[in-house]
């Protein structure tokens, strides 16, 4: 069966507009994806009919809102194939999920002289929380190097592992280059030295089938807005025994069992980590985003996006002056590139004038750009609703722009 691209495009109202007098081509999906009508309807419906604070409310609306909220937790559990829904914690996003682990697991289990391993591919949000923790604890941050294609050098990772390694925190799929890391191997080797593993799933979860039990990761962080869901919402998956051993993140309502002025006992997971009124409306709407992915099917999405990426590589690859950045064998649908003699900002602005939305710059991965000897790249990232004809427009646009400096 062919991929129902037209039908899918109809589900995303934002795509049907012109910018600068040209039809919008949205290729900034690694930054955030657009939202299907079902997600928008849910947001509206929640505030029109169901708004109430969840848990503990003794009235119909509170009961309804609680039920819908917890439905999403179960949907996320199934989406990641977690063992139980209590292992799903709602956060503000991937960044907060990683910070939660740094502040709780990190504060309790990482001591002076311990080591944390990250990779050269990391987004700043998987670098800075660990630097802060290392500074506070006198721990050491080690970095897995990469080759020129943008793949981690696995043998170097193995050399970094030792009984001092307490945590390995790596990106599942690179936001800047698209590289998919061999995470299953990484997790296996890290566990062999007794280290826990956190996967930054911000980019991978919308493209790849995820099974946290099969991967055996201890944590996975992700963002709803990169999964066709609302902004300001993310998830931290953690194994029950690890989450239970961790102290709470923030203090407040919801996360307590009993409070007296002498002592407070904490609630069970996941509530222990969800202090305060959560982002109820967005959590409820997030279910519809995951339903959309499930109904379209991850494998069909992956096949469609792989088709777009290889078509883009083929068309853009033949343009004089086109320089691909990140040529890993295993990639999600991210095409990072430069044009010989041109600054990525200029290329981005000129593509915008053609109605094509891309991202330019360092993509919050400055150490990676430094390793590659680049100031930045132009990044086109493809999603479920992008079409081959849009790739052709991108190729035409890039060819025109490249000609300015590559006659």
């Amino acid at each position: 069966m062919s991929f129902p691209i037209e039908q899918i495009r109809q589900m995303f109202p934002v795509l049907h507009q012109e910018v600068h007098g040209k039809p919008l081509i949205y290729f900034d999906n690694a930054a955030t994806t657009q939202k299907p009508q079902s997600v928008i309807n849910s947001l509206e419906g929640y505030y029109l009919h169901d708004n109430a604070n969840i848990h503990r409310g003794a009235h119909a609306l509170a009961d309804r809102a609680t039920r819908y909220f917890e439905d999403t937790r179960e949907t996320v559990q199934k989406f990641l194939n977690a063992k139980e829904s209590a292992e799903i914690i709602f956060t503000k996003g991937t960044t907060e999920s990683i910070n939660l682990v740094a502040y709780t697991f990190g504060r309790k289990f990482i001591q002076t002289g311990d080591e944390i391993i990250i990779s050269t591919l990391e987004h700043h949000s998987n670098i800075v929380p660990w630097q802060m923790l290392c500074e506070e604890k006198g721990a050491i941050l080690k970095v897995i190097p990469i080759n020129d294609a943008g793949e981690i050098i696995y043998e170097e990772f193995e050399k970094l592992l030792s009984p001092k390694t307490k945590l390995v925190s790596v990106v599942h799929a690179s936001n800047a280059l698209g590289t998919i890391n061999p995470v299953k191997k990484i997790i296996y080797s890290a566990h062999a030295v007794g280290a826990k593993v956190l996967l930054d799933g911000a980019q991978s979860t919308s493209h790849l089938e995820i099974d946290v039990q099969d991967l055996d990761c201890d944590f996975m962080a992700l963002s709803a807005h990169k999964l066709y869901g609302p902004t300001g919402l993310g998830v931290l998956y953690g194994k029950r025994e690890v989450l239970e051993a961790m102290p709470p993140f923030q203090g407040g309502g919801e996360m307590i069992k009993e409070v007296t002025f002498e002592k407070t006992t904490y609630n069970e997971i996941p509530f222990k980590f969800e202090a305060g009124t959560p982002n109820i409306g967005d959590v409820i709407a997030f279910k519809y985003a995951i339903d959309f992915i499930n109904e379209t099917s991850k494998s069909a999405i992956k096949e469609h996006e792989e088709g777009l990426l290889s078509y883009a590589n083929e068309l853009l690859g033949s343009i004089k002056g086109f320089i691909p950045v990140g040529t890993a064998k295993e990639k999600v649908s991210v095409l990072s590139f430069n044009i010989n003699g041109m600054h990525p900002f200029d290329v981005g602005v000129m593509l915008d004038a053609k109605g094509i939305a891309v991202r330019t710059g360092h993509h919050c991965t400055q150490p990676l750009m430094k390793r590659l000897g680049l100031e930045g790249t132009v990044r086109a990232s493809f999603a479920v609703y992008n079409s081959k004809s849009e790739i052709e427009k991108l190729a035409e646009g890039v060819a025109q722009i490249a000609r300015i400096k590559n006659k």
Binding site: H20, G21, M342, H343, F345, D346, V349, M350, D352, A353, K354, G361, E375, I404
Partner: protein, 143 residues
């Protein structure tokens, strides 16, 4: 020599000819960058980089016959074009003229919509630095 206001009006009418077509406007701005006099290599140093610009912008100024002479460069072609417009309006004028200049051409040619809000902040940082140089030279002259 035309006044600051006259030069601004010239620029506004040039951009009016381009109309609403963003592509040709950007292309024109990039071409304007070619008008910049070549930037002295020994001045291409960290101290001369303007803070607050997304792309790198180097700016230096000195005084000739009581007037301020700017030289600038950037690593991006669009920014170079924008700089060349500022220099065209402000170069070789007295510090007082520069300090009191109201640069409304930027708004009138719709620069915000062309370059986006982040780069507009960069442009503002550039103008501020040009005025600061004028202020410093004025202070030096009055000693």
């Amino acid at each position: 020599m035309s006044s600051i206001q006259e030069v601004q009006e010239e620029i506004i009418s040039e951009f009016e000819i381009l109309g609403d077509d963003k592509e040709s406007t950007i292309f024109y701005i990039m071409e304007l960058g070619g008008n910049l006099e070549s930037f002295p290599e020994n001045e291409r140093v960290e101290e001369n980089i303007i803070k607050g610009c997304q792309s790198k912008v180097w700016l230096v100024a000195d005084s000739k016959d009581g007037k301020v002479h700017y030289q600038a460069d950037s690593n991006t072609d669009i920014t170079k074009g924008l700089i060349s417009l500022l220099i065209r309006v402000l170069n070789d004028r007295t510090p007082q003229e520069i300090i009191s200049a109201e640069l409304d051409f930027i708004h009138k040619i719709g620069m915000g919509g062309i370059i986006g809000s982040q780069r507009s902040n960069g442009l503002a940082a550039m103008i501020k630095q040009m005025k600061l140089y004028a202020l410093a030279l004025q202070a030096k002259q009055s000693v």
